[in-house]
């Protein structure tokens, strides 16, 4: 499943959930930080002062906030001012590594930051600490959560567990609400897609207060891998590759189906589509082949919507992502749009809109 979680900032989605662009996928730096870089330098001195101030006067604040298992609230953050300082620090200090050399090395805040930076072992979510036939494996880590491969009910049923850990830098109540909301919205959208006959992973179980979502394990590889395997080192004859064009048509049909039932994916890339090999074929057989069913995954950024504008932006994101992941195969992308056009009634209008979006970029307003 979601081989690459969408890298997303924590705070920005509150204002606008679609602000991150596909180009930012896979990077650890959040868009907010990118925006902040300019102001960062001027803030550094401010932070330095605040940090020193805290260390001298309010050490428990920094110490309490740093506790890695602190998900239940922070009684020491009593005044709004302290909370604000804490939020500023947590947002900026871990990302600005040069601070650690600027500050005295014995500072408790900085020491904790340094040790967190080198720790790669994540604590397992509570549900995975219970006995199971095979130990869970961490598949990938995104900005907001982690994806484990584990088993559901019986050792023979593999499943994907999407876990959104509590974020110690957020206020516990806000954190709980955001996590809950995101898990439920993803589960609802998956369920709706399933009912309307679009092939997406099944929802097996969820626990929104514990922050996990158990999904069907989709066999196969991300479409990105299949396309890259297919292309290999070739530079010629790509536009005449009938099998590749057929795959493109299936992608277009799947995206069209999704839009026709009123779902906007929000992060369409070839990594967020799996190619599920036909039954009876093992995973290794299919790596070079292109046959199989398209399964759209990672609907963590998805939303309901029937506006042509949203659909066009979705297509635009796919187009741009496709162009940067498979530059040589850009010539066959037209097949996606052709198949999309045939897949539902309003597709033509959405494609018209796509031309408009291409002219101006995906953001209509020039804000954010």
């Amino acid at each position: 499943m979601c081989r690459e979680f969408s890298s997303r900032n924590i705070i920005i989605p509150l204002l606008n959930p679609k602000i991150s662009s596909p180009a930012e996928n896979g990077t650890q730096s959040s868009p907010q930080m990118a925006d902040c870089l300019v102001t960062c330098a001027s803030i550094v001195f401010f932070v330095l002062h605040i940090g020193l101030f805290l260390r001298l006067t309010a050490a428990p604040v920094a110490g309490g906030r740093r506790s890695p298992t602190n998900g239940t609230g922070n009684p020491s953050l009593s005044t709004p001012l302290q909370r604000v300082i804490s939020v500023i620090l947590s947002g900026i200090v871990p990302k600005t590594k040069f601070l650690s050399s600027a500050l005295p090395p014995k500072s408790p805040t900085m020491a904790a930051t340094a040790s967190e930076a080198v720790v790669h072992e994540f604590p397992l979510p509570a549900i995975l600490t219970n006995p199971a036939s095979t130990p869970p494996t961490l598949i990938t880590q995104g900005a907001e959560g982690r994806l484990y491969k584990t088993t559901y009910l019986l050792p023979s049923i593999p499943c994907a567990l999407k876990y959104r850990p509590p974020k110690p830098w957020r206020h516990p109540i806000l954190d709980q609400r955001l996590t809950r909301h995101r898990i439920l919205s993803e589960a609802r959208i998956l369920s709706k897609c399933r009912r309307d006959g679009l092939r997406v992973p099944d929802v097996y179980a969820l626990d929104e207060s514990a922050g996990w979502l158990m999904l069907e394990w989709v066999q196969g590889t991300p479409v990105r891998v299949n396309i890259n395997q297919r292309l290999g080192n070739r530079t010629e004859g790509i536009e005449d590759d009938e099998e590749l064009k057929d795959l493109m048509r299936r992608i277009g049909a799947a995206v069209g189906k999704m839009h026709s039932i009123g779902i906007i994916h929000g992060d369409l890339t070839t990594s967020n589509m799996m190619l599920n090999p036909p039954a009876g074929q093992t995973e290794t057989d299919n790596v070079s082949g292109l046959e199989g069913e398209i399964v759209i995954i990672d609907l963590g950024l998805a939303s309901g919507g029937v506006h042509d504008e949203d659909r066009a932006v979705d297509l635009y994101v796919l187009e741009r992502a496709f162009g940067s992941t498979h530059p040589r195969a850009e010539c066959v992308f037209g097949e996606v749009l052709d198949a999309y056009k045939k897949s539902f009634k309003q597709a033509g209008v959405a494609l018209k809109k796509l031309e408009e979006v291409r002219m101006r970029g995906r953001k209509r307003s020039m804000l954010g």
Binding site: L154, L190, V203, A205, L206
Partner: protein, 197 residues
């Protein structure tokens, strides 16, 4: 007859799950009465087997109930009633009992017993004790709960109604009965997972 002991993934080791399937049950009314009277000796999840599509379906409900019990967020009096309610796709508890629980007209019956040590009862009942109690009190033929057996018992029409799966054109369009059944199972699991959320 022996009850089947089931080891579920990601369930604390202190929890034990026992499962039995009875066909041609003659005293469903009696069992129903015991539940209504809240007879503590009959603390089982009695489930009408015609509402179950597969073992996975039933075990999903067990898993949900156990998970709620571990987290201490049961919505019903105990883990057994929670199992029955977990089967439902709506949050109406009485409706879930009616649809999925035992009724006087039930002929095929799933019995699930979930035991774990508690403060008042540190030594939970053993498989033999449960087996004996069920043999003594359920008048029916115990059969192994395999997917093949379950398939012959399922009332697909009732299942589709309970999980609001009617009117899905793509589902009706599937010709292969086996594939169709699998799809129904998947939709049922999704419906259960999203109950009341």
């Amino acid at each position: 007859m022996a009850v089947e002991t089931i080891q579920l993934e990601h369930v604390p080791a202190s929890y034990r799950v026992y499962l039995a399937l009875f066909r041609n049950v003659k005293n469903a009314a009696f069992l129903h009465q015991q539940l209504l009277a809240r007879n503590a000796e009959f603390e089982y999840a009695f489930i009408d087997a015609s509402t179950i599509v597969s073992r996975m379906h039933l075990l999903s409900a067990v898993f949900k109930a156990v998970n709620n019990s571990v987290n201490g967020v049961l919505k019903t009096p105990n883990v057994h009633s929670e199992t029955v309610v977990s089967l439902s796709s709506s949050s109406n508890i009485a409706d879930a009992y009616r649809r999925f629980g035992v009724s006087p007209s039930t002929t095929d019956l799933f019995v699930v017993k979930i035991v774990f040590p508690t403060d008042t009862n540190p030594e939970p009942a053993s498989a033999e004790a449960i087996s004996k109690h069920l043999t003594d009190n359920v008048e029916g033929d115990a059969v192994p709960a395999t997917d093949d057996t379950i398939e012959t018992i399922t009332d697909v029409r009732a299942v589709r109604k309970s999980y609001k799966l009617n009117g899905l054109a793509w589902l009706d369009g599937i010709k292969d009965e086996l594939v169709k059944r699998k799809e129904i199972e998947r939709l049922v699991l999704g419906g259960m997972a999203l109950r009341g959320v």
